[in-house]
């Protein structure tokens, strides 16, 4: 039996090479962060499980390629792990912290793409489209491109608030933390963004 600093849970010691996996999914976010700060990678893995999908949606809404979005999602969590010692829980929420990193990762990606021309080769597109179910993949890609094309017509802050609020599922408070706005300002902004989006939809 041992205690992990910053965590109230008690874990069984490793025995005969079999490591007892603690029930991370029952832990609070603050507990996981403190344990991960102590170097426990599994605790950070639980944080990844909880937020990877949300981060991926945000990134994929800003990219054309799914695999790029997957790579960048991992990159976001790698950076978060390396800078976790600088994170203070009394500051921004952890999810907002992740999205700030995600925005920086996207900016870096755009810069690299800009230096390399910013366009994917035909071969890259063909590889991207390769899938055992090409029909389903094609539909998904069409819908994805429809979202991308529609959002691209909007202002950057409109696009961001819509993606965070309706595609990633963040609350107005979390969205405000990511965007540096108050929850009231986020509500007004999303109202205007939705109105602008509606004017561009053929429904």
């Amino acid at each position: 039996m041992f205690n992990v600093k910053g965590c109230n849970k008690t874990f069984e010691p490793s025995f005969l090479g079999v490591k007892d996996m603690p029930a991370w999914q029952d832990s609070e976010e603050s507990e996981l962060i403190e344990i991960a700060k102590g170097g426990e990678a599994d605790a950070f893995g639980e944080l990844y499980r909880r937020y990877a999908k949300i981060v991926f949606r945000f990134i994929y809404a800003n990219l054309n390629d799914r695999f790029d979005a997957e790579d960048l999602t991992e990159e976001v969590f790698l950076r978060a792990w390396r800078s976790l010692s600088n994170y203070r829980q009394k500051g921004v929420p952890f999810l907002a912290y992740l999205f700030k990193i995600a925005r920086n990762v996207l900016i870096d990606f755009y810069r690299r793409a800009g230096r390399s021309g910013g366009h994917m080769s035909i071969e890259d597109k063909q590889i991207t489209d390769f899938n055992p179910d090409p029909g389903e993949t094609a539909i998904l890609n069409i819908e994805h491109q429809e979202i991308r094309n529609t959002l691209t017509e909007l202002r950057e802050d409109y696009r961001t608030v819509l993606v965070l609020r309706f595609l990633s599922g963040l609350s107005p408070e979390e969205t405000g933390a990511v965007m540096g706005r108050t929850p009231g300002a986020v509500r007004i902004l999303q109202h205007r963004a939705l109105s602008a989006l509606r004017s561009r939809l053929d429904i």
């Binding site: 102590g38 790698l78 010692s85 429904i203």
Partner: protein
Amino acid sequence: MVSKSAHKQERISAILNRCLDLIESGAGTVESVIALYPEFGEALRPPLEAAQWLFNRSEVLNPRPGFVKLSRQRLVDRFQSPGSYSAPGSLGRGRFTSISLERRLVIQYSALLTLTAVLLFVGYTSTAFIVQRSIPGDPLYQLKLAQEDYRLALSRDDAGDAYLRIEYAHQRLIEMQKLIEAGRQIYLDETLEDFVYQMNAASTAIAGVALSDQDKASQISSFLTATLSAPIRSLAGVLDVAVYAADPAVLALLNAFVPQGTQPVPAVAWVVTSTPSPTATPAATLTPTPLFSFVNTPTVAFSATSTSTTSSGSAAQPTRVPSSTPPPTQAPPRREPTLQPTSTPRPRSQPTATPTPKASDPPPPTAAPTDTPAPPPSSTPQPTSQATSTPLPTKEPTNTPLPTKAPTSTPLPTKPPTNTPQPQPTDEPEPTPEPTVRNWKTPKPTSFP
């Protein structure tokens, strides 16, 4: 007006947010929530329809099934692998923050002092090194000479002066060697002059030491021999010229303090001779060609060949040691070659006064050799500057066999001197200019007594 409109906008936004929460949670649809706020129906419908459009397509943006699980495991493995990604608490950036501010300042201050000291030391040593290796003509050479004068000023007795003078003479020899290697012969004259000056000054200092301490003077003389023999031999090897006599006064003075049984002081001397132009001397090919020469200017040559003085150094008289291999072109035709001085390289203790032709009064070119009294074997050139002008230039016939490098091999003239063929106009070499007698031995005010 504006505030009322803004207030209405904010209220509609708040109602919209409540409607969105209902739709997102599945508790209502667009129509059902609009029915809750009929007065805002027109304002709520467009954004609610847009939000519904986004909700319906959010699944499109989901990652592939299994991606999160596999990616999570991949990340955890990378975090746990040593060396790949350090633990969050052991980042390199935070390493220095654990040091207190005071200690950090001390470290920085010490590092700055150390760096400054290193730079000063390197600058001083490198400059001193460059100055010490400078040769005449270099920008820093005058600084080297000034440094020598400064060290001399700090010397407190004759012994210290003698050692310094010997060191400086040694420096001049090295500089001459470097000048030859660098092809900067134009500085050889002044360097050699300074070498002579330093040697004379050393002799003066040694004489001063001998007045009070004979052993000390002898020790310094031995040091002089040991210090200068090697560079003189090296330089003589480079020059490859004839051997000349040493300044007899200097030589006698130095050897006077050499202990019995030790190597005598080498004969270091310089004879100012005229070197005819090679084109003017057809027999120049037979002449040992020095590696450098001054056209129409005296060639200064010396040798490190140790020339023994009299058996007992203390009894040595200042005599000029005859050259064992005088430059053939400078030797006048001799009627009695067997009496050439090379046959008796050792000087006599009692030189006889022999009229020596002066440089200012050269014989006419047509003068027969018989008209020039050849010096007897016992005749030793006087230790005056006139001796340097002894090899007077003569218009020698081109077909006259010239003496080779070794005077003993000089062929004897088979015909009477009066039958010496006159040089043809075409073969007649140009009259060698009058040798410029350089008073090398003229010491500076501190010359030996």
